[in-house]
């Protein structure tokens, strides 16, 4: 178990390193660099820019050096906790991301929790009462949830939130708390803003997880151990909840990193629509501006979330399903 854990953690680090390289390369692929797009921006405003000034900028940021060198410089800086400077914002990358990253995690966890809490009972119901009216209704809603893009749902939710509940829609904070320091009042304000983003971001994952749970549980409900459990004298409901549901729970954990990645990465448009102060909108901005340090850091962070999420879910799975331990030892 300990050996497996160490091996698994080392693999996670190796994966992260590969992601860092890839994310850096991906940023470098488009023609030109930050200076090119900066000049284009200035020229559009009518500012005249000399080749000399451009070169000075390139030297300043080390953009003329070979890609490999730039990459290692970036790695070295990150090792010291310095993620570089954002050209676009003219501030250290950490300052730009800072609170936004925290809020991204908060929003993502909220969406994930909502996904779990909603998907588990509905998935169980849909499987146990297969082909009932309720099952069909949830299936219908589920497919709509899968098909409707998050940003559209966000718009609809904002509209109804505003019209029906007079809710403070958009953003994660009321104006008076936006710049305030953290306090319980600010936290409470954040929680009040949470339902709409959580719903908009979590619905697709919820629908997906309901389908998975339903399919898995349907398989497990046909297994002989359920008959055994009932033959012991358990009520049908208790037997179902204790055994097949427990076995069918695996995907709930194994799917977390993917749902998390979709929520974090897929939240760009939703975040813009809902004007959430998360990293999504910044990522889009940095990619357009070829702000390589900022974009690289964000992409790396998304990678970290996915890899760490996978690692945690793998560890949870080993705890949840004793057969997995066996396979790891045997293999």
């Amino acid at each position: 178990m300990a050996g497996w854990l160490i091996r698994r953690t080392l693999f996670a680090f190796a994966t992260l390193w590969a992601i860092s390289m890839l994310s850096f390369v991906v940023i470098q692929i488009p023609p030109g660099d930050y200076v090119t797009s900066y000049i284009a921006q200035l020229q559009a405003q009518g500012t005249i820019f000399t080749e000399h000034e451009a070169q000075a900028l390139r030297d300043l940021y080390g953009l003329d050096q070979p890609v490999i060198l730039q990459y290692f410089r970036w790695l070295g800086l990150m090792a010291q906790g310095n993620f570089g400077v954002s050209f676009e914002f003219n501030r250290p990358v950490l300052d730009v991301i800072g609170d936004r990253f925290l809020l991204t995690i908060v929003v993502s966890v909220a969406a994930l929790l909502l996904t779990w809490i909603v998907a588990l009972p509905i998935g169980i119901y849909s499987a146990v009462k297969q082909y009932s009216i309720g099952d069909y209704a949830f299936t219908f809603i589920g497919f709509i949830g899968l098909a409707v893009p998050g940003f559209l749902l966000a718009l609809v939710l904002m509209y109804f939130g505003f019209v029906l509940f007079d809710a403070n829609v958009g953003g994660l904070f009321s104006p008076e708390y936006a710049q305030a320091d953290w306090s319980w009042d600010k936290f409470w304000d954040l929680m009040q803003h949470m339902p709409i983003p959580a719903l908009a971001l979590g619905l697709a994952g919820t629908a997906f997880l309901i389908r998975i749970m339903r399919a898995n549980l349907l398989d497990e409900l046909r297994k002989p151990y359920l008959v055994t459990a009932r033959a012991k004298g358990l009520t049908n409901n208790r037997a179902v909840l204790k055994y097949p549901v427990r076995v069918a729970l695996n995907p709930f954990v194994s799917i977390v990193p993917f749902v998390l990645r979709d929520i974090v990465g897929g939240s760009v448009i939703v975040s813009i629509v809902l004007s959430l102060p998360t990293v999504g909108p910044i990522l889009l901005k940095s990619l357009i501006a070829q702000d390589s340090f900022l974009a690289g850091t964000i992409i790396l962070l998304l990678g970290v979330i996915t890899v760490v999420g996978t690692l945690i879910s793998d560890i949870l799975l080993v705890i949840l399903d004793p057969r997995i331990k066996f396979e790891a030892r045997g293999g």
Partner: protein, 350 residues
């Protein structure tokens, strides 16, 4: 209708004219279509027949764990329920399947073991916790005492290192050990009737013999009735006192194990016995088989369900009338058979 061993002892369990049908969208499947038999304490009843003849559904009907879309549509399952020190005859076909009474009986008084011990245990719970659960469902024992009792049960069924085994999972045990553990779990509440649904089918021959020995020994020790469901006639000859032969959900012949093996009456029973390979049979002579195949459940033959495969088919009778299970004659009332070779059609349907 005559019954087995009438008058001698009050049977623990009497099944009469049990009909369990399944109602999927495609039509009706008459899985059990009028099964009758009974079993006394300390006796072993064998139920034999080909796959799909309704053996397992009969067993599940007794325990009331027939799965949707199946249900008992007719018949009686009379069981001597022990409650407050008295014995009350209860029709299990009439009580609520998930109700208190039925749950007390299920696992407590009538227990069941299954064909595939691998998949019959939960893969993610230790064996011990599953046995402890069964114990605590039917007794007021605390967790510690229940665990001790579970270890005792494992020892009773011949499992060594019982305490350590409690923490193991089904996949960590061999097939034979798993079936022993399954038997231990079934015995946890000292049932009066043990239904064994093909308990040795998934095991190799040596292990089969061990498990059968174990069952026989436990029956001697605990005095329980066993209903042994199998398609293995060798197992029946070795284990059973009485035998019920089923075909397409109906009992075609019923009698003591001697009568069935030495004096089979129903053509189906005879054919089944002839198709057992024997050491004494002539070399290079093909083993006799029963011609044809079991009819599709949606397409049962009219009249006697066996008539289209029967070598002694009587045209005009077997394909028009449904035979009833009746005593062979006044003298041999122990043996019942459902065949027009032995009695005239009684129903007026044609």
């Amino acid at each position: 209708m005559a019954t087995l061993a009438a008058g001698k002892r009050r049977p623990l369990l009497r099944v009469h004219n049990l009909k369990t049908y399944f109602f999927p969208d495609e039509g009706t499947v008459r899985a059990v279509d009028g099964a009758s038999f009974e079993v006394c304490a300390g006796q072993t009843l064998g139920i034999v027949g080909e796959s799909g003849c309704g053996k397992s559904v009969t067993a599940r009907s007794i325990l009331r764990i027939v799965e949707h879309p199946g249900e008992i549509v007719e018949g009686e399952i009379r069981y001597l329920h022990r409650t407050d020190g008295r014995e009350v005859e209860l029709d299990l076909a009439q009580v609520s399947a998930d109700g208190r009474e039925m749950r007390q009986i299920r696992g407590g008084e009538i227990a069941m073991i299954f064909q595939e011990p691998m998949t019959s245990f939960s893969p993610v719970h230790p064996i011990g916790s599953q046995i402890v659960e069964a114990i605590r469902l039917h007794s007021p024992l605390g967790k510690r005492e229940a665990r001790e009792r579970a270890a005792d049960l494992l020892r009773q069924v011949g499992i060594s290192r019982a305490e350590a085994r409690l923490n193991e999972y089904a996949y960590q045990l061999s097939g034979g050990l798993r079936q022993r553990a399954m038997i231990a779990m079934a015995l946890s509440a000292e049932p009066r009737v043990l239904i064994a649904d093909e308990p040795t089918t998934a095991l190799d021959v040596t292990t089969q013999a061990q498990i059968l020995d174990l069952l026989r020994q436990l029956q001697t020790d605990l005095g329980m009735a066993i209903i042994l469901i199998t398609h293995n006639l060798g197992v029946v000859a070795e284990m059973c006192d009485n035998v019920v032969v089923m075909y397409l959900g109906r009992v075609v012949e019923e009698g003591s194990v001697d009568a069935i093996f030495h004096n089979p009456k129903h053509p189906y029973t005879r054919l089944l016995l002839q198709s057992i390979p024997s050491l004494y049979s002539e070399a290079r002579v093909p083993l006799p088989t029963i011609s044809g195949a079991i009819p599709h459940p949606y397409n049962r033959p009219e009249g006697c369900p066996f008539h289209d495969r029967c070598p002694q088919f009587i045209p005009g009778t077997c394909d028009r009338h449904v035979p009833e299970l009746q005593a062979l004659d006044e003298r041999e009332s122990d043996q019942l058979v459902s065949c027009f070779l032995y009695h005239e059609p009684t129903d007026e349907r044609a």
